[in-house]
């Protein structure tokens, strides 16, 4: 069992109203010095068996066609090194 993480972010030039709302709230809460906030989505995929090239390729396809809207979002697929899969969650 291994964990593959897909991070989905709005492309840098796309407006991110949620990130802006967070950024505007920061100074009100006393957190200074943050010039920009962008908010994204993180998917944690628990994979049965070893993660090889073929599995990663399939996850890439899955991310491209389903997890991310590639018209406005970018995504990164990465294998979580030495990740312990939470037994209790199974």
């Amino acid at each position: 069992m291994a964990r593959v993480v897909v991070d989905v972010m709005l492309k840098p030039e796309i407006l991110d109203p949620q990130g802006q709302a967070v950024q505007r709230a920061l100074p009100r809460l006393g957190f200074e010095g943050i010039s920009d906030v962008r908010q994204g989505k993180r998917f944690e995929l628990e994979v049965d068996g070893p993660v090889d090239e073929a599995v990663l390729a399939r996850i890439h396809d899955l991310a491209e066609s389903f997890l991310a809207n590639t018209v406005i979002e970018d995504f990164i697929v990465k294998v979580e090194e030495g990740a312990e899969v939470a037994e209790a969650a199974k």
């Binding site: 407006l15 109203p17 406005i72």
Partner: protein, 752 residues
């Protein structure tokens, strides 16, 4: 990162031989030469960016202008028209000191690329047009057209579009009160997402898009400017000026309805304190459009410092800033002594506002960047004096064949059993089925002034709580009719929307239109366009309803295949007291059903020919606008004097579709008798125009008949509201339960 020297006006004059990517920006060779001729030198990159986007089909109407002039030349005299074509939206006097502004626009192409954001920003754009006139937006409507209902791509596009409209409108707190949803394979790859909005103001609050008064400040307020919607300008920025830059800017704009809500409130407060001399929203072509239009509608002179524009992305080039279509931005012209107060109001609403320039007493639009002058143009040449094309047009060779393929010759149902089956097939077909699954995703009643919303014939909003004054709006268009005969098809769209408004009891005042067509470079399409505009202009003149504005969307085609010519017409009407409105639903058993108007054998382009025979041919129904006007007068009088309790206009699907809808909405059946001189099939399925079915209380029958008789409108008693089925005597009976299942299950089964 290496920086090439700034392409200032001086630099351009000194380097006449520099090649600019005018073709990549969509300009034709002769258009580029014209720019050079106007300026007397080569344009700077920024100037080229402005001209290219302002001279695009979308902004300049270069192919359509010569035809659209008819809307002005044939405009009927109307005391109700306060502001006509050419402003952000037209304004109509609805009485009691109120003025109403309304407009329909297209957002077709963006909605195909990214359905949710495309449709959402379509709503945002039309709402800003309304605010820019000084009005408070009160409702939106959305006429939509998609590919075949069972096509997989429809399942991608439609839910996204509907969610986008719902998401944006619901967040703004605007009720969605009308529109249409039509499926046809011709819209595969070219869905039509048209958006309309209505706003209300007092007469004295009307504002116009012009910058006058030297020394007045130009204030940009709303969202920061980012890389949204930059098409060609990025080519200019990346390929010519700085190859090292990230060049892939998306064409997709993302909307933020909460920002727009702040913009509405902030703008209206500034209007209320009379702080604004002129105002313009930023839509297509962004700052290029706003600055050049404000300047050219005023005295002409304006100086803008682009460095002062608040940016979301500091790497944007000046060309990109000028082209950006970032949403939720507006531009106001404010007298110097009122600037502080204006900025204070923006601050109160958490809206970023920045003085970016001022009106000058010259007649040049000058734009500066990093201290260099990068634009020096006569704003009129950018905004109003773009190219005009007399595109060749010709009646397509296939038109005769299409019209000769007469739908009246199609095999007809012979027995009661066959009629029954075809009625079920009709009311459950995607175009005739209930659209509740779609419209229930929109908020209809927010603000508490919605009197009627889908599936009524027109949406109706109360605008004065004391007097009950209200306005109604209906949008209609039938691409099948227009394909068979664009002139008649456009008039049928007008007639239907006009009739729909009158059916609810409101008096039609004016129209807005959204003209969706294929490529103007195809003479056949251009002929369709020319015919449709001519039909609409003639129709408006005859009905006395001026065109107040609207929009043209061309190039709706994939390869050689254009969409059906689809002129969508929105008619606005006024009703003195919304309590007197007429609903679609049957109200009481025992009331008498009357068919108003004449029924002929007219099946060309009909829903029946599509559903039963998958056929499109012949001629569309005949139009008689004098009859439409008479029918409207009768419907309005009958509503005002309490002679009818429900009414439904007859259009696609014919009488049976209308009766089934009224029955299902009122949960009361109807017994119908085929009148003398008609066969059951023609009676039920014909789509003759100028008709409505009304329910008359028995106590009013004599009075109602007298009125129709005196004014010469044929009124035929066809049955009675009764029971729990729709029955056609001697032919068939369909229980309401069976009808409702057939009518309501289709859309969820296809899309949910």
């Amino acid at each position: 990162m290496s920086r090439t020297p700034l392409d200032t006006v001086e630099h351009a004059a000194a380097t006449p031989d520099v090649e600019l990517p005018w073709a990549e920006l969509g300009l034709k060779k002769d258009e580029y030469e014209r720019v050079v001729e106007i300026l007397g030198r080569r344009p700077t990159g920024a100037e080229l960016a402005m001209y290219s986007v302002m001279w695009s089909e979308h902004c300049s109407y270069k192919s359509s202008k010569v035809h659209l002039r008819q809307f002005g030349e044939k405009a009927p005299r109307s005391d109700a028209l306060l502001v006509g074509i050419g402003e952000n939206a037209g304004v109509v006097d609805v009485g009691q000191g109120y003025a109403v502004t309304f407009k329909v626009e297209s957002h077709n192409h963006p909605s195909y690329v990214e359905p949710y954001q495309g449709a959402a920003t379509g709503v945002g754009g039309i709402v800003r047009d309304i605010i820019a006139m000084g009005a408070r937006p009160v409702a939106v409507v959305d006429p939509l057209r998609f590919g075949a209902a069972d096509h997989p791509d429809t399942k991608r596009v439609l839910p996204g579009v509907v969610a986008g409209i719902g998401g944006y409108g619901n967040c703004l707190g605007l009720p969605n009160i009308g529109g249409e949803v039509v499926f046809d394979a011709c819209y595969q790859g070219n869905p039509l997402v048209n958006a309309g909005a209505i706003g209300v103001m007092r007469h004295e609050d009307i504002h116009l898009a012009k910058a006058s008064g030297a020394g007045n400040k130009v204030i940009l307020y709303g969202a920061r400017t980012g890389g949204d919607g930059i098409g060609g300008a990025s080519i200019l920025a990346s390929e010519t000026f700085d190859d090292a830059k990230p060049s892939k800017r998306p064409a997709v704009q993302v909307g933020d309805p909460f920002q727009e809500k702040l913009l509405i409130e902030c703008t209206l407060e500034a209007f209320k304190e009379k702080l604004v001399v002129g105002i313009q929203d930023l839509g297509a072509a962004g700052l290029s459009c706003a600055t050049s239009e404000l300047a050219s509608n005023g005295s002409g002179g304006m100086r803008v410092t682009l460095d002062d524009v608040p940016l979301r992305d500091s790497t944007l080039s000046p060309e990109e800033i000028l082209m950006s279509e970032s949403q939720e931005r507006m531009c106001a012209v404010v007298e110097p002594e009122k600037v502080d107060r204006f900025l204070e109001i923006c601050d109160k609403w958490d809206v970023i506002a920045t003085v970016i320039g001022e009106v000058t007493d010259g007649d040049r639009l000058e734009i500066f960047w990093h201290g260099g002058k990068i634009v020096d143009v006569d704003p009129r040449t950018v905004a109003h004096e773009g190219p005009t094309y007399e595109r060749p047009y010709a009646r397509p060779s296939w038109q005769d064949g299409l019209q000769a393929d007469d739908a009246n010759k199609l095999p007809r149902p012979a027995t009661g059993e066959e009629l029954r089956d075809q009625v079920l097939k009709l009311v459950s077909s995607p175009n005739q089925a209930s659209k509740k699954w779609i419209t229930s995703q929109y908020d209809h009643f927010v603000q508490g002034n919605t009197v009627l919303a889908q599936p009524e014939d027109s949406g109706m909003i109360r605008i004065d709580e004391e007097t009950g004054l209200g306005v109604a709006i209906a949008t209609d268009g039938n691409g099948r009719y227009a394909k068979l005969d664009p002139y008649t098809g456009a008039q049928l769209a007008l007639a239907e929307a006009y009739r729909n408004v009158a059916t609810t009891g409101a008096r039609p005042l004016a129209i807005s239109d959204c003209l969706n067509f294929g490529s103007p470079e195809d003479p056949a399409v251009m002929w369709q366009f020319a015919e449709a505009v001519r039909g609409l202009a003639d129709g408006c003149l005859q009905l006395g309803t001026p065109v107040t504005g609207g929009n043209v969307s061309l190039y709706n085609q994939t390869g050689e295949a254009a969409i059906h010519p689809t002129p969508v017409v929105a008619v606005l009407g006024v009703i003195d007291d919304v309590a007197r409105r007429t609903p679609v639903a049957f109200q009481e058993e025992g009331q008498l059903l009357y068919l108003l108007g004449d029924t002929r054998e007219e099946f060309g382009g009909s829903a029946w020919s599509q559903v039963v025979h998958d056929h499109l041919g012949g001629l569309p129904p005949k139009v008689d606008l004098e009859r439409e006007r008479l029918l409207a007068e009768i419907l309005i009088s009958a509503s005002r004097d309490g002679m009818i309790d429900s009414a439904h206009d007859l259009s696609d699907g014919g009488l049976v579709q209308a009766v089934v809808e009224s029955a299902l909405l009122g949960r009361k059946g109807a017994r119908l008798v085929v009148p003398d001189g008609l066969d059951a099939f023609t009676f039920l399925f014909s789509e003759s125009a100028g008709r409505a079915v009304v329910a008359v209380p028995r106590s009013e029958e004599v009075r109602f008949n007298d009125m129709c008789g005196a004014r010469g409108l044929p009124a035929t008693r066809i049955g009675v509201v009764d029971g729990d089925s729709v029955e056609v005597q001697g032919a068939f009976a369909l229980p309401l339960t069976e009808l409702s299942e057939a009518h309501e299950a289709t859309i969820p089964a296809l899309l949910a």
